[in-house]
Amino acid sequence: MAFDWTYFWAQLFTPSTAFLDGLFLTVFMAVAAQILGSVLGLVIALGKMARSRVLRGLAGVYIWIVRGTPLLVQIVFIYTGLAAANILRFNDITLSGITFPGSVQAGILALALNEAAYMAEIFRSGIGSVDSGQFEAAKALGMPPATMFRHIVMPQALRIILLPIGNQFNIMLKNTTLVSVIGVSEMLLVTETINSATFRTFELYSVLALYFLALTSLWHLFMAWAEHRLARSKTGLVPGQDAGATPKEVAA
């Protein structure tokens, strides 16, 4: 069977409403999970750096489990597993006319919980690479920990971890395909549904791949722009570089 160009172009430029809904769902879930995962990741990073041994231990175990098991398993576990064990059932929620299916909620939650473990390590390394003199200066001025963290440490850490965060979102966009397994009609599942009726697998998956390539490329362009702006900002701080002032080394 030859490649059906007509069908391919039609799917690419005039996709079905179902496919466009899938596209929207893909982006929506990725953004929601990334935001939720980042917030959670920051909390876990703080836990990992806490003075309390219990908090450090809990954060460590969380990261260990999440990074040590497949995301696909986590998704099924959270949606199907918890429901089967009568622990947690995700019900559809309707807010001002818009319905959030339970599977979408579970999908976002699973992606976010997974993302949090990776973000925690990124935040931790970012905070760790802020020069210790910055902490000292903030403390010596009399800043309580929260103020120091918010106004001195985080702004510098975020510049350092801009790139890894960008990479995480790229991965996130692609990982949303995994929630098709619990029946979320994102782009992959929509494509699969169309495929089961038309059997134009090659054409349909080419289109799907191109849509993902477009999404990740747009994101890549945005990141390049953000990085460029930051590098050109008057602070002279470049992402990924040591943010501390670097006066010349002192001779003993």
Binding site: G133, L141, Q156, A245
Partner: protein, 261 residues
């Protein structure tokens, strides 16, 4: 004889302070005090505990024995009944506002402008309105000789300029005393003078200061009292003329011989 601007009140007082880093005893039963208005210069060989002593004053380091008091208030600990317990981080933060600190490596906040570096603490911690804080900051910048650097970022300043901004930043909290830890030793030689000049003016204005420095000429000029440390102990103290011209302790003599020649 003490100059008249020095009061009898002991603004900073350390009694019997001991500090270990692991097995190393870095401060060994140190008694140290600074009176209001006094300029104390702390000298001693490398590793003798000068930095550690300064850092104990604003509780950047904990102590294992003895007491640190600023304005008669116990730093870092509270009495619970007759026992000393570690204070909460928030309370320690409040206590630190009374004492300004200037670091060897400046430690300006690189993501903030010079003006923001100076206004951030008074606006966030003392509730000074922004406009007022900026006005004060500009006055401080004029005082340290940098009236036109308000909107620069630290990376674009020379070391000497950064250190003067760091002094202005500490002064913006209106501390009762200022601590300087080798403020000129990270600087190119041609920039040392501008920073010492600012400190000299500050001393003349009556600020209470503790200065760790190897600049002996400067020490001689500004110090009301020189304190010599060796191996975690205060081995000698006195007026600069006495310590520099007629040191009593052989270790002081060795130290002075090493830095002066």
């Amino acid at each position: 004889m003490k100059p008249p601007r020095i009061s009898d009140e002991r603004l900073i007082e350390l009694t019997g302070v001991a500090k270990w880093f692991g097995p190393n005893k870095v401060l060994d039963d140190v008694d140290f005090h600074v009176r209001r208005g006094e300029v104390v210069v702390l000298i001693g060989p490398s590793g003798s505990g000068k930095t550690t002593l300064l850092r104990c004053i604003n509780h950047l380091e904990t102590v294992q024995a003895g007491q640190v008091r600023v304005r008669d208030e116990l730093i870092g600990y509270r009495m619970r009944g007759s026992k000393l317990v570690a204070d909460r981080e928030r309370n320690i933060a409040v206590q630190r506002r009374e004492v300004g600190m200037v670091f060897q490596r400046f430690n300006l906040f690189p993501h903030l402008t010079v003006l923001e570096n100076i206004t951030i603490a008074p606006t966030l911690l003392r509730g000074v309105p922004k406009a007022r804080a900026e006005e004060d900051a500009r006055a401080l910048l004029a005082r340290v000789g940098l009236p036109d650097k308000a909107l620069s970022y630290p990376v674009h300043l020379s070391g000497g300029q950064q250190q003067r901004v760091a002094i202005a930043r500490a002064l913006a909290m209106q501390p009762a005393a200022m601590l300087f830890d080798e403020p000129t030793s990270a600087l190119d030689p041609e920039m040392v003078g501008e920073v010492l000049g600012v400190m000299r003016d500050l001393a003349a204005s009556g600020m209470t200061m503790v200065i760790v420095t190897h600049e002996m000429g400067f020490a001689r000029q500004v110090a009301d009292r020189v304190v010599v440390m060796a191996q975690g102990r205060v081995i000698e103290e006195g007026a600069p003329e006495q310590v520099f011209s007629a040191p009593r302790d052989p270790k002081t003599r060795a130290l002075l011989a090493a830095v002066l020649h």
